[in-house]
């Protein structure tokens, strides 16, 4: 069964542990600027949202990637980046509607979530399950359940 990273922003506390886990897993250092997951925080509202590559079905990054460094894995359905083929043109940074393809100014390379090959470091380090690695059926059902729960609460008040 296919898995995906499920994001639950309402559970995110803004601790950035996912970024630290990601940069350590991929770069071997703690560097929130060099991570494939980013937590964006609204200071006044005290609200944070983790973001990473959504592995879109119709991925604009693949469409614009001239050297074919970005391709879809037929087995997992993930969008994979072949760093060897990447020419650093940054077209994918422009094309991604979510800002999840990242150009790193220090290492001069594109950073994009690769699901850690199927065992994402970010989800393991998330203390509140704001990020969860779950199969896609569970992910979809849980979303439905969370949404309908709001109706239930409204009607049972």
């Amino acid at each position: 069964m296919a898995h995906m990273l499920m994001i639950n922003p309402e559970k995110c506390t803004g601790c950035h542990n996912c970024e630290l886990a990601c940069s350590m897993a991929h770069e071997g250092v703690f560097r929130p600027d060099a991570t494939r997951v980013h937590v964006y925080s609204w200071e006044r509202e005290g609200f944070s949202v983790p973001m990473m590559c959504q592995h879109c079905r119709d991925a604009p990054c693949i469409t614009v990637c001239t050297p074919h460094a970005l391709t879809r894995d037929p087995d997992t359905g993930w969008v994979n980046l072949d760093e060897g083929k990447c020419i650093g043109c940054k077209m994918c940074v422009q094309a991604c509607p979510f800002g999840n393809s990242i150009w790193d100014e220090l290492t001069h390379k594109i950073l994009k979530c690769d699901n850690c090959g199927g065992d994402p470091a970010c989800a393991k380090m998330c203390p509140t399950q704001a990020l969860e690695w779950v199969d896609d059926l569970t992910a979809t059902r849980r979303r439905k359940r969370a949404f309908t729960e709001k109706f239930k609460d409204a009607f049972s008040e």
Binding site: E10, T13, G14, C15, H16, N17, L20, A21, S23, M24, E27, G28, V29, F30, R31, P32, D33, A34, S41, E43, R44, E45, G46, F47, E105, L106, M125, P127, T128
Partner: protein, 602 residues
């Protein structure tokens, strides 16, 4: 270096000179970082007799060697300076995300020297550092300042700043970061104000490296599990925040009420963490790398006290609450918001108002003195107004800005100030809990619960239950907690990590990240060394054993009601043993043998 960035940034505001220098590896090894490294720098560079508000005082911002890593709840930095309120060494630490950002910008410490001729702010983007004009921002509140500086630097810049209180030299002004986090105690904000430094904006995109990533991950996962399984560190603090303590302390009769006239507040539950969670709480919030999330994002809709922000913590709810006889949670929370916006320490602000209320109720000050503010016990409106007046620097607020000691003294009643070394005592009654009283009396920064939090064993039973009423074994217990906390602070960790882990785990993580092998004993010795260096600084500043005491009230006036009725602090019986076990002489001066043991010089 690993763990440490190996670099210190020095900014002289008098001359405008900016420079960097390497971190001395020996200082790093012996003093770790944050509180330890800051104290070492102060000792090497600043005359302890200096006027805290003169350009000769320095202001040091330092994260620790664990800061920026994923060690659980280790994203803190410490401000070290000579305290404006106390005249003692101040080391106030704060969470949020600012400290790690400074580390990612490449610095183990930022030393601010001199004073700018006109208001400025500092803009740090990795190696690029600028002193910029802040004339147009001077006078603005903390949220206004943060917005204004981001608009002219970077949308994602992390901001530490002072509010109007720091500019006006309110003696307990705080340095605020990330809007709601505070290096709160001892008047760090007044020192920043005296330097005409409004803010420090930071963007850091560098790395914190780790000597042994595999060993570090193992040590971190072990520490995380222990904290997450702990009833306080795991669930309690996330559900109810630190304010879960209100009902606990009130039940044991250790909840100082109406300026410590009593130790029990009958309606405390109305301002406790459970009530907060059921009413104003929007969601929990975590600092950088935190797995606990005790932060409270709250909102008050009651028109009279409307606002939104973070808090209140236990200390704040107690101060504006029970200590002032107020049980209105909306008002308490509003006073908290005002302190965050104007940049003031909530404990000292609240306890100073409590002191003013007692002066007022006893007829030592009149309504004329207060400019018409009726400072009666339980008057929520007056409490909030007194906070506002202090923040904006108007009317009676100018007197409150001096802190309770100078306020009470000016009316001839310093005995009504509940302070140690002129710093307001926090929310645990020293009469009901013997160990914490000894800690207050001997804390190097003045009265503080976060130097030796013996509430853990004496009230919460963590890591083991100790009888709160006895003085047996308390000196040794207090020393153990003070040394552990000094070392923990110096790593950049949060005290709440100790709800789950201790020196073993901290030493393990520190060794793995830095590559310097620390045994548990080495680690504890770092804490002992830091504590003694702070003590030496204070003695050189002119403090003596006479300052290691508590207000007369806590020594002589028994608690009137509640579970600890009839009790007083037995500090005089504990202090000589404390000195002896510390390796200090009868005057509280470290002996040559003790200094030798810690490689310190007289």
């Amino acid at each position: 270096m690993n763990g440490w960035t190996g670099k210190i940034l020095r900014v002289n505001l008098s001359t405008g000179k900016l420079s960097t220098e390497p971190l001395d590896p020996d200082s790093a090894k012996d003093y770790l970082g944050a509180r330890g490294l800051g104290t070492k720098i102060m000792t090497d560079e600043v005359d302890p007799k200096v006027d805290p508000l003169s350009p000769k005082n320095k202001l040091i911002f330092a994260p620790g060697p664990l800061t920026g890593s994923y060690a659980p709840s280790a994203g803190r930095y410490t401000v070290v300076t000579k305290g404006a309120l106390t005249g003692a060494i101040a080391s106030s630490n704060s969470g949020g995300v600012w400290g790690p950002e400074l580390k990612f910008a490449g610095y183990d410490a930022l030393i601010i020297e001199g004073a700018a001729p006109k208001p400025v702010y500092l803009w740090i983007r990795n190696q690029k550092v600028e002193i910029r004009d802040a004339s147009h921002i001077w006078g603005k509140t903390v949220p206004e300042t943060s917005d204004a500086i981001r608009a002219e630097t970077d949308d994602d810049a992390k901001i530490a700043c002072i509010g109007p209180a720091g500019e006006n030299r309110v003696l307990f002004a705080a340095i605020m970061n990330d809007l709601h986090r505070a290096a709160g105690r001892s008047g760090t904000g007044a020192v920043m104000g005296s330097k005409n430094l409004k803010a420090i904006a930071v963007v850091g995109s560098g790395a914190v490296t780790c000597a042994d990533p595999k060993a570090f991950e193992t040590a971190v996962m072990d520490a995380r599990e222990k904290i997450q399984k702990h009833p306080v560190g795991g669930a309690g603090l996330r559900l109810y925040g630190t304010n879960v303590l209100t009902n606990i302390l009130n039940e044991v009769g250790g909840y100082p009420t109406r300026n410590f006239q009593d130790g029990h507040f009958p309606t405390a539950d109305k301002i406790g963490g459970e009530t907060l969670a059921a009413t104003l709480l929007q969601r929990p919030r975590g600092c950088f790398s935190c797995i606990i999330s005790c932060g409270r994002v709250t909102k008050v809709t009651n028109k009279k006290y409307a606002g939104e922000g973070e808090g209140p913590e236990y200390e704040t709810a107690w101060g504006f609450g029970g200590d002032c006889g107020v049980d209105n949670l909306d008002a308490v929370t509003k006073a908290n918001y005002l302190c965050n916006e104007y940049g003031m320490d909530t404990i000292s602000m609240a306890a100073t108002i409590a002191c003013a209320m007692e002066l007022y109720e006893r007829g030592f000050i009149s309504r004329k003195d207060t400019g018409g503010v009726a400072l009666e016990w339980g008057n929520a409106e007056a409490m909030v107004e007194a906070t506002r007046l202090t923040g904006v620097g108007e009317g009676f607020g100018k007197k409150l800005a001096l802190g309770s000691y100078r306020l009470a003294e000016s009316y001839g009643h310093s005995e009504l100030s509940m302070t140690v070394k002129k710093q307001e005592i926090p929310a645990y009654d020293a009469r009901a809990i013997q160990g914490i009283g000894l800690n207050y009396a001997t804390a190097n920064c003045g009265a503080a619960h976060v130097r030796g939090y013996t509430i853990s064993p004496e009230v919460l039973g963590v890591p083991m239950k100790v009888d709160k009423d006895t003085i047996e074994g308390k000196p040794a217990l207090v020393i153990l907690f003070q040394n552990l906390t000094a070392a923990l602070d110096a790593t950049g960790s949060c005290l709440f990590a100790t709800f789950g882990i201790g020196a073993d785990e901290l030493a393990g993580m520190l060794s793995a990240v830095t590559g310097v092998a620390y045994t548990t004993d080495d680690f504890m010795k770092c804490g002992d060394r830091i504590y003694n260096l702070e003590r030496q600084w204070n003695l050189a500043a002119g403090l003596t054993a006479k300052d290691d005491t508590l207000p007369i009230r806590l020594l002589n006036e028994p608690i009137k009601t509640g579970a600890s009725k009839g009790m007083v602090s037995r500090l005089p019986e504990m202090l000589p043993t404390y000195y002896e076990l510390r390796g200090w002489d009868g005057n509280g001066v470290p002996t040559p043998a003790k200094l030798g043991e810690l490689s310190l010089t007289a």
